[in-house]
Structure formats: C-alpha cells, structure tokens
Amino acid sequence: MATPAADLRPKYKKALIGGDELAKAFTFLFAALILVVTVLLVLELWRTSSPAKEKFGFGFLTSQLWNPVTDEYGALPFIYGTVLTSFLALLIAVPLGVGAAIYLSELALPRVSNALTFLVELLAAVPSVIFGLLAIFTLVPAMRDYVQPALQKIFSFQPLAPFFDGPTFGVGYLTAGIILAVMTFPFIISVSREALMAVPREQREAALALGATKWESTWQIVLPYAKLGILGSVFLGLARALGETMAVTMVIGNSEAIHQSIISPGYTIAAVIANNFAEASGKMFTSALVELGLVLFALTMLINGFAQLMIVLTTKKGAAKS
C-alpha cells in the first residue's frame, strides 16, 4: 500500500515542474470563475426580483401595465419593443452584412478587402453613445421630416397602413431599428466573412473546374457551405441588438405602451432599466426592474447559446473537410 504513493510523488513533481498540471489547474480556475460569475449573477437577479415574482407571477410577462404610482408592473411593452426593434435591425442588417461579407471574402482584391475589413472592425469599436448622439442629431430629424412621411405615403393602403400610422416624431421603433442595424452589421460582416473564408479552397476550385462562373460558385457552393456560420453571425448580431441600451433609449421615444405603428415611440427592456434604476423609489419598482433584467438575461442567453452552437458546428465541418 505504501508503494504507490512513493511511486506517484516523483511523477507529480515532474508534471508540476513541467508545468502541465499547474497550467491545467490555473486555467481550470479561470474557466470556472467565469461560470461562477454567471451563476452568481443569475442568483442575484433571481433573489432581488423575488418580491415582483411573488406579486405578479407569470402575469408579469403578459401585462401591459407599468405604473410606479400604484406599484403595478408588466413587462410586455418592453419585451415587445425589444423583440420588434431587434427584428427590424436584422431585417436591415442581414442582407447588408452578408452582402458585404461576400464581397470582402470572395470578390474584392485582397488589398481592398483588408482595408475595408479594418474599417468594419473600427466601426464595431465605436461606443454606442456616439451612435445615439449621431442618431439624435442626424437620423431623427431626417426620419421626422422625410422618411416617416414618405413611408406613410407609400404604405397608405390596407392592410399595411396601420403599421405606419400616427404623428411623425422622428423617434420610435423604426429609428431604433435602423440605429441597431448600423451597430450590429459590423459583427455580421466580420463573422460571416470568417465563415466564408473557412470554406475550403477545393470547393471553389471544383466548382470553377466544372464550368461554374465566379458568382455561381459563390452563390451555389460557398454560401451554402458557410450558411451555419453566417446564421451564427446573425444570432450574434441579434444578441447585441437585444441588449443594446444607450443608443436605443436615445431614439426610441421611451413610451411604456405597445403601439402597432412602427414609427410610433416604444421602449425596450434595457432602456427602461437604464432610465429608471438609479432613481427607482420603493422595493417593488426596483424588484420589477431586476425581473426585467432577468427576462433580458434569459433571452440573450438563449440566443447566444444557439449562436455558439452554430459556430462550433460550422467550424468543425470546415476543418474536417479541408
């Protein structure tokens, strides 16, 4: 019984000196730390929101009431605003982003591609408050004076008219959607471009050898091959759009109600938390805001997890075949 310990000791010593075990232990610690932080975050959100959860139950998710005077809260207008603005953002950003990625990875000269990619990455690093300020001073007046009246004219027929109804404030769901599109599309471009570049060279060469044109090979061979990675980039963009706060609160109009028209003011989860948390009076108000945070957390976790899975799947597929 004594021998194994004696045998093991030099082995461990060697591993420790070599650094393998040490490195493993440390990196495990770091990895675990991230998990611990996430778990603590959820626990804290769960705990602090318990008064609201007890009082409103699942009705919180479906109620449209948001009244700090009577202490009654519902999340639906904010969930609606968050989902709608993100959807509008993707509607604009996906075709633009994927199109740009195709150009950068397949069609552009390497020098042009590198320069443009650098610029796109710069765009991704601009703080969101800057986008918000730009939007207030340029986008909002343009929306108010030109875009929104024009949309009302174009879509003045049924059944689309109600979606473009109402006074033109300049701010609103659509304006927030546009600013979110500008903010998400650098991510869509970068990740889509990576996915397209990961497509093995042989795939393109084979297509070209069979007589396909450059565009046919891109559209019919490369794009389908990279579609999961592109989908992953879309989900990453969506996750960013869902959680974006400053730029959105500056242009969405912050109105705690659900409006059918996409040019009317609305609200998102992140915006209502940012606006109210510092001055929230009373336990129930704070608790309701924290519960909103929990809802947003669940939403983004779900989407992020899905995106991660997509990306893992595509890179594996690409690596196996190249």
């Binding site: 009244n67 001073f137 007046p141 109105s255 705690e256 915006a271 001055e279």
Partner: protein, 336 residues
C-alpha cells in the same frame, strides 16, 4: 453583499483620501439643487478646512435609497419622503428645506416664439393626450392673440425617475381631478402620451429640435439655456411668469410646511405665486453617533440656512422665506 461592498469601498475611500484631522462627510441625492450644494460645500470647506463634504448628484430617489441603506451620511431630495419610506430607515431622517425652485413648461412652436400662456387644466389635457393640436379651442382661450398652428402637439416628458417629474405630476394632480385619478403623482408615472427623454438635457434637447413640442424642465435649466417657457395661470387666476420672486411668493403664500417641515407648495394661492414651485430638502439622520460628524453636519446646516441663503439668487435659486429658515434652524437641535 453588494451593499456592504459599496459601503466598504466608500469607507475605504474616505480613509484613503482623508487627512488625519479632516472630517469626511458623504451625501447623495437630488440633481436639481446640486449646483448650489457644490458651491456651499466648497465655500464651507474654505472657511472650515477640516470639513470635507462630498456630494453625489444621483437623483432624489437614489438619495433616499442610499440613506435607507446607510451608505451615505445624508440624503437630498426634491420630494419629501413618504411615511413608508421614513419607516424603512433605521434612524428617523429629518427634513431640512434648503432652497426653492420652479419647474417650467418649455415649448418650441413655430410662430409662437414667446408669450405662451397656459392654465392648469390645459397643461393636464396636453399631457393626458386629450388636447392633441396646438390650435385647440382650450389653448386658444388662454392665448387669444397668438397664431397657434394646426399641428399635433409633441409631448416630451422625463423617462427616468426624477424629483422634477414628481413636482410636475404633483401639480397636475392638484389642478386636474382627471390626472389625479388616472395617473397620480410620483417620481415616475405611467405617462398617458408623449415621448420620454432621459434627464433635463434630454427633454430640453428634444424640445429644441422638434417643432410643435412641449416639455418640462427646472427653471434654472431653462434660464441657463435661454429657453422659451410658458406663463402659468395660478390659483388666483393670474398668468405668472416663473421667476425667483414668483417662486418665493408661492412659498410665502402657501399654507406652509407641516411640523416635519415637509409639504408641497404647488398651486399656491396669491396673485403673484408661480404655481409650479417646490422646496428641496436635505435629509439628515436624527441621531449621529460619530461626534465629529455630528458637529460638522450641524455646523454646516447652521451656516447654509443663514449665510448660505445669500448665495441662492446668484445661482438662480430662490432663498427660503425667513419663517421657514427659522424653523429649519430650530430643527437642528433635534439632531442627537
């Protein structure tokens, strides 16, 4: 856990920055009186170098919250604490009125550059969404000569919880039964209509760049930014411009503060009273264990409520009426 961490960090910061003999005092709360508070604290430090008062302008609600959590030595608020809020604090806080201010309705109506006049029920109607156009007969009744456009009114309100919103909604609840029953008064309410913008600068910016809009900001803010604001019809039926005199007149004519020096002075009687006026308060615990801190805080209060008042007008606030200042000075003795 988070609270203790913050408290620890503040304590650590206090120890770290404090010179051996200095008395460090931390406060937090309303943004509206922050400019004069900062001036007071700086001036008081110049005269009493051992007292360093740090003030964080995080908003009235935040001030009350931090006082309740015990992370600051004093709070500040534009809204007197409710009985429920007072009950949540371990040591009963005392309300010390410090200065007066007003809230004004700033507007941007092409064709009506100045001189817009509004009565209370019209303001309530606009913010309820029942008065939708600028040429509504009810607005015309207040402005017989003005060329009011046939345009939708763009209503702008605060999206963040704020003492200014409390004063404004308190006023609307006072002048409109409809508002009182459907919306009510609070630092944040469920706004029936309009756009929300964060902070006074957010509201002011939105109004400035949106034609046919109206919003509310502190008088001080409107004066500093040279914005147009409407004359309001007061309880005596007179249209009154918001000035520091008309705000003081409202305080003098109102029924006064209760025995805890709390109270609202919106819609005060008197021909010269501006109806959208308010006190702002420092919230000081009634029992301070640390003798040094207690001496510093009471010393500061004695100075602010007497000599400090002279600075109010220079910084665009209205000083306390003499009677109120006297009551507040007498209340200092209640700090044990």
């Amino acid at each position: 856990m988070k609270k203790t961490l913050i408290a620890g960090a503040i304590a650590a910061a206090a120890i770290f920055t404090g010179a051996a003999s200095a008395q460090n005092i931390t406060g937090a709360g309303a943004t509206f009186p922050a400019p004069i508070y900062q001036k007071w604290f700086a001036d008081y430090k110049a005269a009493h170098s051992s007292v360093q008062i740090n003030y964080q302008a995080i908003g009235s609600g935040g001030g009350i919250k931090q006082l309740t959590d015990g992370t600051v030595d004093f709070g500040a608020s534009d809204m007197p604490m409710t009985e429920k809020q007072v009950a949540e604090v371990k040591v009963k806080p005392l309300h010390f009125p410090t200065v007066l201010g007003g809230v004004v309705l700033t507007y941007n109506v092409p064709g009506v550059e100045t001189g817009l006049q509004l009565s209370g029920d019209v303001v309530a109607g606009i913010f309820m969404g029942t008065i939708k156009k600028w040429n509504d007969p009810k607005i015309k009744l207040d402005n017989k000569k003005a060329a009011l456009p046939d345009k939708d009114i763009v209503v702008v309100h605060r999206s963040d919880s704020s003492g200014t919103s409390f004063v404004f909604t308190d006023y609307l609840s006072n002048v409109s039964a409809d508002w009182k029953s459907k919306v009510g008064a609070n630092t944040a309410v469920q706004w029936p209509t309009g756009l929300g913008q964060k902070g006074s600068d957010g509201v002011a910016g939105m109004v400035k760049q949106t034609p046919n809009s109206i919003g509310y900001v502190e008088l001080l803010y409107a004066v500093q930014n040279k914005m147009a604001f409407a004359d309001l019809k007061n309880a005596a039926g007179k249209y009154v411009k918001a000035t520091f005199e008309s705000v003081t007149a409202a305080a003098a004519a109102s029924k006064g503060l209760d025995k805890d020096l709390k109270g609202s002075i919106v819609n005060a009687p008197g021909a010269k009273s501006y109806p959208l006026s308010t006190y702002t308060w420092l919230l000081i615990p009634s029992k301070i264990d640390d003798a040094g801190k207690k001496a510093a805080i009471t010393g500061f209060l004695k100075w602010a409520l007497a000599d400090g008042q002279k600075q109010a007008e220079g910084l665009s606030y209205a000083p306390l009426p003499a009677g109120v200042a006297k009551l507040a000075l007498a209340q200092i003795a209640e700090i044990k």
